[in-house]
């Protein structure tokens, strides 16, 4: 435990007691190249032998997984956004001819600015492997632990299913599995990392939307990519979870987004709950004193 153990910039593995920790590993998920194919979801399920989470049709978009859960450690969010007034667009009398399949890029022959009246955003979501992980801080059994790679992993043979981590994660990632009672989430393929392999999702991603690597290198790569997108006129490109001064000390898995985080179901400004824990204990201590004092006053008063 160091001065920033609860909050602030930190290299988590040495802080957790690995003196010769390897470099911190993580994911950079660049949503601007995601095509929503869900190969990551499938690869994750296959490698980690995760049970199905129901074969549902949710009816709101091409996303039928719904979100991260005990049984979905990667989740591809799919957002259809009107770029113009959706009602006016829907009121158009004639069906639109979308063009013959061709060999040019879609929309290339159309003048910029008038390409489509809607856009699709796709994002493969995952556990953030926070620098300050609320789930890990509150786990009462020590089942959740920090690995030498700076990631956060559940030991399923220790977890007793208390569910505290579920309520403590500011991103709503970790979840308790109904029939098995234990908590599950992305391990950043801890078993593969140990053997020098790439996590299954990043291995399977056909567009390199999911990039795995040393976090410091990923940061450099992400900065370059944002600059490139801005230069190309995509002003909405922004990084999410890259900043070590944010409320969780930065994420081990961070993102390039094309809209505000909440549109993808991400909190706009998460803060690890344990930042306030010293204060919470202080308030509880005061209340405990008030309680003891009340009893003393009650019994020391007139007997009558």
């Amino acid at each position: 435990m160091g001065i920033n153990s609860l909050y602030g910039p930190l290299d988590p593995a040495p802080d957790a007691g690995y003196p010769d920790a390897p470099p911190r590993m993580g994911f950079f998920t660049d949503t601007s190249v995601c095509i929503g194919c869900k190969a990551c979801e499938v690869a994750c399920k296959t490698w980690n032998a995760i049970p199905d989470d129901g074969f549902n049709l949710l009816g709101h978009s091409y996303d039928n997984t719904g979100g991260l859960s005990a049984d979905s450690w990667r989740h591809v969010a799919f957002i259809e956004q009107p770029a113009v007034d959706a009602l006016a667009a829907a009121g158009r009398p004639e069906p639109q001819f979308l063009g013959m399949p061709g060999t040019t890029l879609p929309g290339e022959s159309v003048p910029a600015g008038s390409r489509t009246d809607f856009r699709w955003l796709m994002m493969s979501n995952v556990c953030k492997h926070c620098t300050h992980a609320g789930c890990l801080d509150v786990c009462p059994t020590g089942s959740l632990f920090r690995t030498e790679f700076g990631t956060v992993v559940v030991q399923e043979d220790i977890c007793n299913g208390c569910g505290y981590c579920v309520a403590a994660c500011p991103y709503g990632v970790i979840d308790r599995r109904e029939d098995d009672g234990r908590a599950w989430k992305c391990t950043l393929c801890y078993d593969r990392l140990g053997d020098g392999l790439t996590p299954a999702c990043a291995q399977a991603c056909p567009t390199e939307s999911i990039v795995f690597g040393e976090l410091s290198e990923l940061h450099a790569r992400a900065d370059e990519r944002v600059a490139k997108l801005h230069a190309d006129g995509v002003g909405s490109a922004r990084l999410y979870g890259h900043d070590q001064d944010d409320g969780v000390g930065g994420d081990g898995a961070f993102f390039l987004l094309l809209d505000e985080p909440e549109v993808y179901g991400l909190p706009p400004d998460p803060i690890v709950t344990t930042r306030d824990l010293p204060d919470m204990w202080k308030r509880a201590g005061l209340a405990a004193l008030a309680m003891a004092a009340s009893v003393a006053v009650s019994f020391l008063g007139r007997r009558g």
């Binding site: 403590a168 009340s294 009650s298």
Partner: protein, 317 residues
């Protein structure tokens, strides 16, 4: 994609979300945990009542307090274990002691308390035993254990507030300064309720008034000073529960103070305070759960913070 807040207290809050889905996850806890909040507090309040009775030589208060504390602690143990996903692994909590986990700290507090409360309650059977070694050592052992339980009781009553507040559940977390006072007051009031039923002496009445005051003050702050995050405590099921809790507390205090001459009125006031404590705990529990289920309560306060309207830097030192 964007939704409009339609409840009266929100000034037409616009926010965006992923198809209206929650962002943080509600705790996967059932009403067992809400019940535990009550029984844990009752155990603490009863142990303090018993210690007061012990030190001021009121055997009836002492005995009832100790027995109630043991009963409540046994119920608490049941609720805590029943709510685990893997109940047979509850002992895994005892493999670590972790200050950053209020549940870990609570497990140790609870274990220490239940040991002491158990000895104190068992000591009450001494008079029923034939003259023996046990009959001689039990009362002094019970006296020590009773004071031990009372020493741990305030921690038992207030750590549960930290347990709820140390989550990403918006309306629990934001209430962390006052929640321990609500729980401390609620525990005192329920302990006093036991006293009013068993032996309504002035000390129990004073305890009832002080407990109710703490409880009402804290709850009022939580319901009114947290901006949009107060809303889940004022609306829906949580709002109804907290209103009933307040009414029961008020009735209990009024009865305790005005019904001084009547055993029946005193006992009814005690019951009212017990019910108030339970209902209030359920209200707080439900309020937090509601705040986790609606993305509005995650997005809007964080947006406000980003916009700098609510300064929220790291705490001093």
């Amino acid at each position: 994609m964007s939704r409009r807040g339609d409840r009266p207290m929100v000034p037409r809050a616009e926010f965006r979300s992923y198809y209206g889905q929650p962002i943080v996850r509600p705790a996967p806890w059932t009403h067992d945990i809400a019940s535990y909040l009550f029984t844990g507090g009752l155990a603490a309040g009863s142990a303090l009542l018993a210690a007061g009775g012990q030190l001021t030589r009121r055997p009836r208060l002492r005995r009832t307090g100790r027995v109630a504390a043991l009963g409540a602690v046994a119920a608490s143990g049941y609720f805590l274990v029943a709510d685990l996903g893997r109940p047979e692994r509850f002992l895994n909590m005892l493999r670590v002691a972790k200050p950053t986990s209020p549940m870990s700290m609570g497990t140790w507090i609870f274990s220490a308390f239940s040991g002491a409360a158990g000895v104190a309650a068992v000591a009450e059977v001494a008079p029923l035993l034939p003259a023996s070694f046990l009959r001689r050592v039990l009362p002094p052992a019970g006296a020590v254990a009773g004071l031990g339980a009372a020493a741990v009781a305030p921690a038992l009553a207030t750590y549960t507030a930290v347990l709820l507040a140390d989550t990403a559940t918006p309306s629990w977390h934001v209430a962390y300064p006052e929640l321990p006072f609500v729980f401390a007051g609620s525990a005192l009031a329920s302990g006093a309720g036991v006293g009013l039923i068993a032996d309504p002496v002035p000390a129990t009445r004073r305890m009832a008034v002080l407990g109710a005051a703490l409880e009402l003050y804290g709850a009022h702050r939580i319901e009114t000073t947290k901006g949009i995050l107060s809303e889940p405590y004022a609306t829906g099921r949580a709002g109804r529960l907290l209103r009933v809790g307040r009414a029961l507390t008020a009735a209990g205090v009024a009865g305790a103070v005005l019904g001084r001459r009547s055993r029946v009125v005193s006992a009814l006031s005690g019951l009212s305070l017990l019910a108030a404590s339970a209902v209030t705990r359920f209200g707080i529990f439900e309020g937090g759960m509601a705040s986790a289920r609606d993305p509005k309560y995650t997005v809007l306060p964080q947006r406000e913070r980003l916009a700098g309207r609510v300064p929220d830097g790291p705490p001093p030192d």
